[in-house]
Symmetry: C3
Subunit: 141 residues, 3 copies
């Protein structure tokens, strides 16, 4: 599959909650992390999403937020993956941050340079990659 | 309307599915493509969204994923528009890709330079512009 | 809280609408503006979201659209905050636009340079920051 989404997480569907318009799909990555995707019911039907199915969860880099310290706050975002910053590539306005997850997957996030500075993002730093269930597209073979 | 969303697709509402919190709206473009938007029920009520209504579907460039070969994969994203790359503008981290749809509309997508390289995106190439229903904002007059 | 989302709006929950999969949460900022967030029901339950609760609404800069003149159009996007452009920082492809809201909060938006040019965005200009309810992440302490 040649597709521009920088984040392509392979996993297995381990939960499905069906609403009227939307469906929530839980996917277990090989490292054990759970990713939650919110897709339309129409898509879930067309793709015949069900438990034990292998899927790829696609997330664009600009959809991902990075936290280095939540300071006691809890977030509504369903996806919060722990890892370590492995690379910081700085542009004029934005930077790309690569995070190696504890479970082995890699995450690429695009954040503004101001955020890189205020979070003092550097290689080797612990960081959490955060994204909403609604940011996730599922691919099935 | 002076608004920064790079993608402004004019069309006519051809389907509405009402949920408890969200509503799915289908819009037919002049070229025949269907765009699906997921908006809140409150918005659908306020805008009085109904079939045959003329609307503009707004999508920001960073919300759009580009695929050149799905390799047999099917995607949950409701919007998958076929076209041809007409322009690649490269920045330090990101590039802007313009795609001319078969139906005549234009799509602007922002993707990382790494994706431009790994997909070998060039003018004249066939490409699919992919975005979620939840990325679409509707404008009505 | 050290987190990369450029927009962090403090407010108080003033409304909650519960669906099967998603929940809509309304938050009143100190300046009186209302922000609407769409989160999953699971998150609303885990965070025990209820009226009068203090929350922070997080929105990434690339999720925000800027309008200078809607020309009679109405938008489905639930969040439309009025303000004044206070800063334009130009990159190669994208620019960052800072908007000071009438209620006192600040909004940072990333838009393409083409949009900066076509909207003729400059300091001192009136502008509306627009984002979907689905773009908002809630943080609670």
């Amino acid at each position: 599959m040649k597709i521009s989404a920088r984040n392509q997480f392979k996993g297995v569907v381990c939960g499905v909650i069906v609403g009227v318009v939307n469906v929530e799909v839980q996917i277990r990555l090989k490292g054990g992390e759970i990713i939650v995707a919110s897709i339309t019911k129409e898509s879930a039907d067309v793709l015949a999403i069900k438990e034990e199915m292998e899927v790829i969860a696609l997330v664009k880099a600009p959809q991902i937020i990075i936290a280095t310290d939540l300071g006691g706050y809890r977030l509504s975002a369903r996806n919060q993956l722990q890892g370590t910053v492995t690379k910081v590539t700085r542009g004029v306005i934005n930077s790309e941050i690569d995070i190696s997850l504890n479970g082995g997957d890699l995450v690429a996030a695009t954040v503004t340079n101001d955020s890189v500075d205020s979070l003092d993002l550097n290689e080797g730093q612990s960081a959490t990659a955060i994204f909403k269930a609604g940011s996730v597209i599922l691919a099935v073979n």
